[in-house]
Subunit: 287 residues, 2 copies
Amino acid sequence: MFDTAIIGTGPAGLSAALTLKMRGKDLIWFGSDQFSGKVEKSEKIGNYPGVGMVTGQELNERFRQQAAELDLKVTDRMVTNITDMGSYFMLLADNEVYEARSVLLSTGVVASKTFPGEEALLGRGVSYCATCDGMFYKGKTIAVFCGAARYEHEVNYLADLASKVYLMPAYRPCGISRDNVELITSPIKEVMGTTRVTALRLGSGEELPVDGFFCLRGAIAPATLLPGLKLNGPHIETDRQQATNIAGCFAAGDCTGTPYQIAKAVGEGNIAAHAILDYLAETPDTK
Amino acid sequence: MFDTAIIGTGPAGLSAALTLKMRGKDLIWFGSDQFSGKVEKSEKIGNYPGVGMVTGQELNERFRQQAAELDLKVTDRMVTNITDMGSYFMLLADNEVYEARSVLLSTGVVASKTFPGEEALLGRGVSYCATCDGMFYKGKTIAVFCGAARYEHEVNYLADLASKVYLMPAYRPCGISRDNVELITSPIKEVMGTTRVTALRLGSGEELPVDGFFCLRGAIAPATLLPGLKLNGPHIETDRQQATNIAGCFAAGDCTGTPYQIAKAVGEGNIAAHAILDYLAETPDTK
């Protein structure tokens, strides 16, 4: 049982991780060990105090260094589900289960919306995790939405198992060329099915019969990740202490709203870390 | 008429100043040109992302450099009063009047409480500003509370004018030794008087008859600075956009509450700057 699970290795997650680590908390930190892709791609950053005018690459490198200096380890797994167990949380990441007394969501903004039908059929033919669910589709026909080139190894894993893969990449060019993989360029309009996924309807009007649909995205919409989480439009609603409506669950950074800024994320991560310290001190460890 | 007046050169003020400057706003920035004394005195800072493990001196030096690189000028004057004029603010700093459409309070926490009677007699014998009010006490007897050694030049200025000065320094040793200055070590218990200051009552029980009382502190309690400002205990109450109860007035950093952390201050300064940009865009410049 960890004291805290932090989801996301952007500036908000880092800020919280530094503070919690220095305060001796036992934490698990999920996300890309390369840290924020959004920071990495920022051309110039001039309004983050203390570092002067820097490129996103430079600042991200400093972020990684500082985490390494404090011996902060990143678990490069994607958390696909969080369950509120009342006095603690259960987290599912690449088929492994983790337990933590508190959770910090610092997942960034989910740029892509979910597809119509996707949330209703999640767990019934819709999956976010190739490693977790790929085996169920051995010899079957599946569709895969691939949000970024870095998930192509997961597509390849799925193509090893399924007999046929309809692939919808969100980027160009796509690096996958295999006999059983068919590239679909028409956009996804709906995930179809009543008790289970039966087909995908495309923008062209065509319907592709499939046994399953994998959505490989950089982030999962917060309400899908943790059912019951209160949102404010596309953002997680928090109070001034970064607490969400679920006791023990906090949020910081872009996922809580604008401005989408490094300074704001770092500040909220710091506030959340202190609120988590208070929460852990006040809440008995019942397990 | 400035777009914004920022009060305070700590991390919150700097963060806001960088963002507003980069967005082309016309701002005036009040505070010590040495920046935060609190940061300067921090032995080690390890949880501010992007700078590694640093001393407060090192980080403050980087803050000063970054402000200089953006050509941000600090007006090293103490703002002693802000008046809400409805569509703009009037600020009094060392006897000069400034006007600004919006105000950011990033004044830090006022460590010292006000003395009983001080607020009631402000402007009626109690003054926060030697330059502004010293002349009124030529040849008279005054008491001076000196909060830090850096205000000793103001004490000397007052001693040039007054015939007699009772000096209560908040620190040791005190660098002032003059014939007409008497060092008082007993603590101040009350500022006495009904229509005007008549005396100071000390912890020893003694009453010192005086014509005026100067309080030279690093910061002025927010509600004294801007009457009508809503507080939450000793802190300025703000919403998630750092707006106070007074339209056009925002607050960020330690003055809004705990945690008293650089990351938190920097984050709030950034959020406040963006809220000010929105406010300026939405509010017509009526003057």
